[in-house]
């Protein structure tokens, strides 16, 4: 751990050619996910060449949109150092709300849509305030919200499917812009995903996004700089629940109403985020890598479908591959920290400070 580099090394690294910087980025877990997506994509193509046709590719992106949006929402919470386990239940609750309140009455679509967004924001607000102001660990708070919402859904539906909402409302998740050259159709979920991803990318470059990562890295330091940590984290929870709401709106259109829609979404989203190289505990990772993690997962499931893994084995194979991939990502961060291959990413040494006496600040690592 003898790092002799200082400010000059950082500058040197930042001034290195673009190609080299991209390569370096790909070697971080958050960058490696894009390599993984490419590898899986090639594997899927090898298993089934027709998957590469623009028409089926765009449909695949549309199908992955809800889980990618959920992963983006979950990213905000995880990068701030918390968890949101209530996501799946929010999706389920929103699906049931849409089914029961809209029914076949198209006129109700817009008011109910507004109600769903308010409801989503409210769930996030409660999660956030209980976590930050009452200082209950978010793992417990959102677990509680998850169970409470599931109970509510069970009470409302008895656990079985009810009718689908009006077809016009379902178009959000099912329809698309037709007669597009080459692609045939651009599904609306693809456009929604693009908008959400662009918004998230922009937000992470705003002061809010920067502070959010800082809060996740070291909440105390962020608080000392004057950042309102409680409100920053609460907003992350609200963003997560709103993302779950958007995912729910797409899913109710794509698939229809069923109490099993959204089940397990929180874990798929968390896995996607972690696959995307975002560190659990916060402070590290890129938002678009979280979305890429969702695509990697969905590609993996598709690959298993194409290869024809026996149905009874499928879950085990999925689980094993996910553990391997996530384990590898975690290893990678650790090794990087140990060897400190990149001086800009060494968290233990402040860049501006003069070089400390060896051993005083870096013991144990």
């Amino acid at each position: 751990m003898s790092v002799a580099t200082g400010r000059s090394a950082v500058l040197e690294q930042n001034r290195s050619p673009r190609g080299e910087r991209v390569l370096r980025a790909l070697r971080t877990p958050s960058g490696a996910i894009f390599v993984l997506v490419a590898v899986l994509f090639v594997a899927v193509l090898a298993a089934n060449p027709s998957f590469g046709e623009p028409g089926s590719l765009i449909r695949f992106i549309g199908r992955t949109a809800p889980i990618a949006i959920a992963a983006i929402g979950q990213y905000f919470v995880i990068v701030s150092g918390e968890f949101d386990l209530s996501m799946g239940s929010v999706v389920t609750a929103q699906v049931i709300i849409a089914g029961n309140l809209i029914g076949q009455d198209e006129a109700r679509a817009l008011p109910v849509l507004a109600l769903m967004l308010v409801f989503g924001a409210f769930v996030g607000l409660v999660n956030g305030l209980v976590t930050t102001l009452l200082r209950v660990p978010s793992f417990i708070v959102t677990l509680g919200t998850m169970l409470a919402l599931l109970g509510l859904v069970l009470y409302w539906t008895g656990g079985a499917a009810t009718g689908n909402p009006a077809d016009s409302f379902r178009q959000i998740g099912r329809g698309g812009i037709r007669d597009v050259p080459v692609l045939e159709i651009i599904p609306y979920p693809v456009l929604i995903l693009a908008a959400v991803a662009a918004g998230a990318f922009w937000l992470m470059r705003r002061p809010y996004g920067r502070t959010l990562v800082a809060v996740g890295d070291n909440a105390q330091a962020a608080a000392l700089t004057g950042a309102p940590v409680w409100w920053i984290r609460t907003r992350a929870f609200m963003l997560s629940s709103l993302a779950a709401t958007v995912a729910g709106i797409i899913l109710v259109g794509y698939a229809g109403v069923h109490p099993s829609v959204g089940r397990g979404y929180e874990f798929t989203a968390i896995t996607a985020v972690v696959l995307g190289g975002v560190v659990l505990g916060g402070g590290r990772g890129w938002v678009l890598s979280a979305a890429a993690g969702a695509f990697a997962l969905e590609l993996l499931f598709t690959l298993l479908n194409f290869v024809g893994v026996q149905s009874t084995w499928r879950d085990s194979v999925q689980g094993a591959i996910i553990i391997l991939a996530v384990g590898a990502a975690a290893q990678n961060w650790q090794r990087r920290r140990r060897t400190a291959a990149s001086p800009t990413h060494d968290p233990n040494r402040p860049i501006e400070a003069p070089r400390p006496t060896p051993g005083t600040t870096e013991g144990g690592t």
Binding site: N48, S50, F51, S56, R59, F60, R63, G158, G159, A160, A161, T162, G163, N164, R174, L251, Y254, A255, G256, H258, P259, S260, V261, R263, G264, F267, T268, I270, T271, V274, V279, L280, G281, F301, T302, N305, F306, G308, S311, T312, R314, D315, S316, Q318, G319, I322, I323, V326, G327, A330, W333, Q334, R337, G364, T365
Partner: protein, 413 residues
Amino acid sequence: MRGSILSKATVIAASSLLALTACTTDSSIENPPAAETGAAGEATPAAGEPSESSAEWFDQAVFDEQDEQRSATFEGDPAQPYLQYIDGEMTDTSAFAADGAQKACFSNASISNPWRQTGWITMNQQLQVLQDSGVISEMETRDAQDDDNTQISDIDYFIAEGNCDAFIISPNSTAALTPAVERACETGKPVIVFDRGVQTDCAVTFIHPIGGFAWGIDTAEFLSERLEEGDKVVALRILPGVDVLEQRWAAAERIFEENGIDAVDYFTGADPVEIKSIISDELATGDVQGIWMDAGDGAVAAIEAFEDAGADLPVMTGEDEMSFLRKWEETGLDGLAPVYSNFQWRTPLLALEKIFAGEEIPAEWVLPQSPITEEERGEFLTANEGMPDGHYAKFGGEDLPGYPTVWQERQIP
């Protein structure tokens, strides 16, 4: 580095949870783990065995028996299918004859899917009739929410403090519930078992439709007739390890094999998102000529996947759930709606009426189970107009009070 060790542990915990949740999406199943073997009422000692192939669920004797029963003559009035039965051994119930209104205790496995909910509504309307006629004073019900342990304690509660004059049990699973049912029998009060069975014949009667193999035969023969050798059938199954569902698939898989149909099966948990992904992937790989389902929940999502992909609609078997019947008519696809007779939910209470009157009843009460064909579809759609999507066409409650509003509003009692 404590932080990273912690986070790694959390990652692994989260991933294994993901894997776990992926295979426990079972609350919407029609027939939870280890149900009855079918008409014979003998149960296989299935507990603990891995379900590697459908071969182990296949029982030639039961298969043949149910195959025969499909064309059997049923005693009784066809207008009242819930009272029909196949001629066989009868139980003498004169010892149970009683005067005045009696209290019934109903231990229900769950109402966690549309099939059970529809039946539960019908049962409550039937109860009203029997309460008005002074046969039953009240029915105390406990819902086990798909949990064996809950149901065992429910039954023990009834035995100890329920003050019950008769027990009605719809078991959650076969082996686990057998001792509890036996304890109920030991009270000397009449016990009625319906839907799924248990490994004891101590009950006065066991009420069920023909069974899973009959379903499999009806559906697979239908698809095999319409498809050619080498055609692809995608089988959408709710989940593994459930006797009645496994039997439906065991019979169907065998028939597909005999006819050279290329059948590939998936577990969906009835999740429409999963169903759509599976079909989209299959359609991306090649043409799909047929869809087979072991329960109709999710049938609409399967059809929509074909529509979304712009592919030719498949030949398809669903169930008599209204959502499928409507979509079937709307799209005009070639289909069949197999039926797991929902009207069986009336029969236990009617059996109780006979028991308290001392009339003999079948020891094993096999109810009719016949699929709805395209010719009959219109008739059932008209008869059930205004019913919600989760309603089942053969619910058999048209002559009960509250028809049709109670089923239309679908207020779960």
